[in-house]
Assembly symmetry: C2
Homo-oligomer: 120 residues x 2
Amino acid sequence: MPNSPRLPLPRVEAELSATPLNERPLTADEAERTAKAFHVLAHPIRLQLLSTIASFEEGQPCVCAISDVGVSGPTVSHHLKKLKEAGLLSSERRGTWVYYRFEPAVLAAMGRLLIKAASE
Amino acid sequence: MPNSPRLPLPRVEAELSATPLNERPLTADEAERTAKAFHVLAHPIRLQLLSTIASFEEGQPCVCAISDVGVSGPTVSHHLKKLKEAGLLSSERRGTWVYYRFEPAVLAAMGRLLIKAASE
């Protein structure tokens, strides 16, 4: 029997607690997973990279076009990796360069969690 | 002329960039302020305290009723202070105890920012 392809697991989306913060106290485990999701947005370089990619007008930006945030190449790569691991970006290699795409689903799920928690 | 009372400035709400992440690259300063806002939610103890207070059914909980998150009293106080500074909680002293109230406006503003950024 051939091996079935290994599908990537949904990441931050699955890790976010589905329970609004105003429904009941979060368990330690739920709080840990939700904090991890927000931790990805709690970094200025990651927000600059994410907004550069999300607002890019001519298709997907190449990594060569998004490194102008005043930090070294390896630092840019490190933060792009974190954003990808969190499911906020996807990437594709074409020849020499890697191209990035903004994936809005996780950000929308995080936003809904806060809005739900803020409404009675 | 009498001194006019000094009103507290809105905090995280004012510090959040009003620009959705998919509109244009954030400036370093905007990214710094937005990251700071999300940093408040990027901590499991703060999320446990916030959810305990936000879901409390009998009015405002006393600090004596919300310290059961497995950390020391001073650590609880430290995180309650961070949540207050961010505008996510308010507090009131009555006699010996301090009582806390969940303030949903900042959380709602953060949620709207993410939802707006995730929609085209």
